[in-house]
Symmetry: none
Subunit: 411 residues, 2 copies
């Protein structure tokens, strides 16, 4: 028996006025999704708990079976691991965004006008030239689009520092502040502030920005580190359940969380972690992964990206793409030997543009599961299914039960 | 107001190919079960938690209101109590099986060809002659079919030893091993190994086995102790809720768990804890029990036995018997003054033959409960009922709420 866990980032939604009161899943209804929900146990899932607004990092930890209240060690850590970097004991890692500031230092766009990956890559390389006081050793690596990872190589640093980021445009970029009185936290904050300042100098006069500026596009004149994290210490999925697991994802964070949990990361050409990702290539890798592993975790980012951009129609389009890809999967796996869970890591209402705490739909297909009563894959339909309301931490034990991998408690 | 809690062991199931994709409950549909679900609050119940594969012991503890993570003290203890034995502080009890080994000491059948209770009784008596080193005091008592209980009378013993049992036939019987470095655990393992060895000598030449052998039946040439347990310390159900409770069960384990919780055990003639149990006699005792107690816990084992034997049709037949008995109950209780909960302690998919972690259906009838929407008693139908998804530990507080026995928290 094999299991496929498909997590579509931020796919859950609310009723959208622009869709005539439907959710994007209701509007994007596809035959493959209808088929899945009709042959699956359906339900709704709180990634962490009802009313808890989950980040993608904590939500994925929970869904992969790790209590985030126990294991979460800061987003930067998972971004670093996902970027293929080594994170040693004592290092502190940050997720960074290229951003656009106005002349008063206020944020105009937290993603520098969704700067291209190629441009961001060039800028990241330029920032390697940063020379920090006291020969502080750092590593900066570009990941996807406007995103990169910064690692301060320890010892002597702390993850207990504030973010150099704002939640809303229009605000001034804050300084990094120590969140405790330790020497390490104060040193970390100072180093980060120095890095942000000296980076601004390099970015302001970089050719990439001159070209963007003359083309009327927003310049990436700041880099904003946030989510300080240290190397996570998770028992591996193999230790926990005795399985071999594989991850297929474009985004660094998802690779990082599952790499920390001992998943093998498959790098798929064209899996960009954006809306133009090559879903077909990912599905082919998924089918291949199911041949040699017990569990494949497949991540699709586009639904969340569209939601953050408040692009309701783009989300519907992405859902239709997912439906088409699911059809490919259903046609290529042994449906008598494969359990398929389709869910989201959290809800991102596309008319709001930010993560919310609403539960997400979940469907678990299997030849012998207690399907029945559900004929559509969407938030309201799934809530009437056989699974009832579960939590993110329940998903992996439920799947492992189907794979016959759970230990008996008592006898 | 009275409450009747009917637990049908292992009754939950999945869709069975041999039933055309139905579950045994869907295939064994009976008017009484339909009536109950139509007039009950229905739901699904995780005996422990989603994805946790429960033994019958831990599941019953939970459903009777005792957190197994806090109170579970090993299966042997409950088997001993259920057999009517006294378990003192310092004693260690084991559940034992008669088994059939081949000449290389490999297990051919863990239940000695489902040896009859009469034969097993004779063999158990013969094993009383075992004389162990250092005058170790032990007690061995037959319970049902191939099952018996062994108590090592303390002090100086430990429950922290491994099972002398295998999960699959074909494997060699393992030695009992100490699971910590204590003198007590090492001594216990030594005594158990001596008991197993000397029992084999007695069993090999016993007349019961000669007769079985000449009749071409499997011999019971080994006794395998497992599930070391010590006297449980549970607050009684009367202390917890101020009620008088009665248990009607055939199997020793179920009598034992409820005896530990202060239930009065009614021994019903013909209640064998097997598939040929006299359900009518148990139902008559149930009606009688409801006259003098607030709560009757009725246990039916046959559904689990059929499941472990991968006897899908036998399970359907057993469910129909349960339906018929339920009709008797419905005709003989005051339906305005009795709440009736019908559920299972865990799922045992009959095409798999082992406990799984899938939730079980539950229906709670009462003249004033919030029934509605459910017309069948099965896994998928109940999941759409008014109870939603609950846990084993919720059942007793819910029933006590209907009996008006729960304390107000706050005011």
């Amino acid at each position: 028996m094999k299991a496929l866990l498909i997590i579509c980032d931020g796919m859950g939604d609310r009723r959208c006025a622009s869709l005539g009161g439907r959710t994007p899943l209701e509007a994007g209804r596809m035959p493959s999704l209808d088929w899945l929900s009709s042959h699956a146990e359906c339900g709704i899932m709180d990634p962490i708990a009802p009313g808890v607004r989950a980040g993608s990092d904590t939500a994925h930890l929970a869904i992969l079976g790790y209590d985030p209240y126990k294991y979460y060690s800061g987003r930067g850590a998972y971004e670093a691991l996902g970027a293929g970097l080594t994170l040693n004991h004592g290092d502190v890692a940050f997720r960074c965004n290229f951003a656009s500031l106005d002349s008063q230092g206020r944020v105009v766009d937290r993603r520098a006008g969704r700067i291209s990956g190629e441009e961001a890559q060039v800028l990241t390389e330029a920032l390697q030239e940063n020379s920090l006081s006291n020969n502080v050793d750092f590593e900066l690596q570009h990941t996807v689009e406007h995103r990169s990872v910064l690692i301060l190589r320890g010892p002597g640093f702390s993850r207990n520092v504030s973010d150099v980021d704002v939640h809303n445009t229009g605000a001034t970029v804050p300084e990094c502040r120590p969140l405790d009185n330790s020497k390490e936290a104060r040193r970390t904050a100072n180093v980060i502030n120095e890095f942000v300042r000296s980076s601004s100098g390099i970015l302001e006069k970089h050719e990439v920005n001159s070209v963007r500026s003359s083309g009327g596009r927003m310049v990436a004149n700041a880099i904003l580190p946030r989510g300080a994290g240290v190397a996570p210490e998770l028992p591996s999925i193999t230790e926990k359940f005795g399985i071999k697991a594989v991850t297929i994802a474009g985004g660094a964070l998802y690779k990082g969380v599952s790499r920390a949990a001992g998943f093998e990361i498959v790098n798929v050409k064209g899996a960009t972690g954006t809306m133009d990702t090559n879903l077909e290539a990912k599905m082919m890798s998924t089918i291949e992964g199911l041949r040699r592993a017990d569990l494949v975790f497949l991540h699709v980012k586009g639904t969340d990206t569209a939601s953050h951009n408040k692009d309701v129609q783009g989300k519907v389009t992405m859902i239709r793409k997912i439906g088409k890809s699911l059809e490919y999967v259903l046609n290529h796996v042994d449906l008598n030997k494969t359990y398929i869970a389709l869910t989201a890591d959290h809800t991102t209402p596309a008319e709001i543009g930010e993560h919310s705490a609403d539960p997400v739909p979940i469907a678990i297909y299997g030849h012998d599961v207690r399907s029945g009563g559900t004929t559509q894959y969407d938030e309201a339909a799934c809530s009437r299914g056989a699974l009832g309301r579960i939590r993110g931490l329940d998903v992996m034990p439920i799947l492992m039960n189907y794979l016959g991998r759970t230990e008996l408690f008592g006898e």
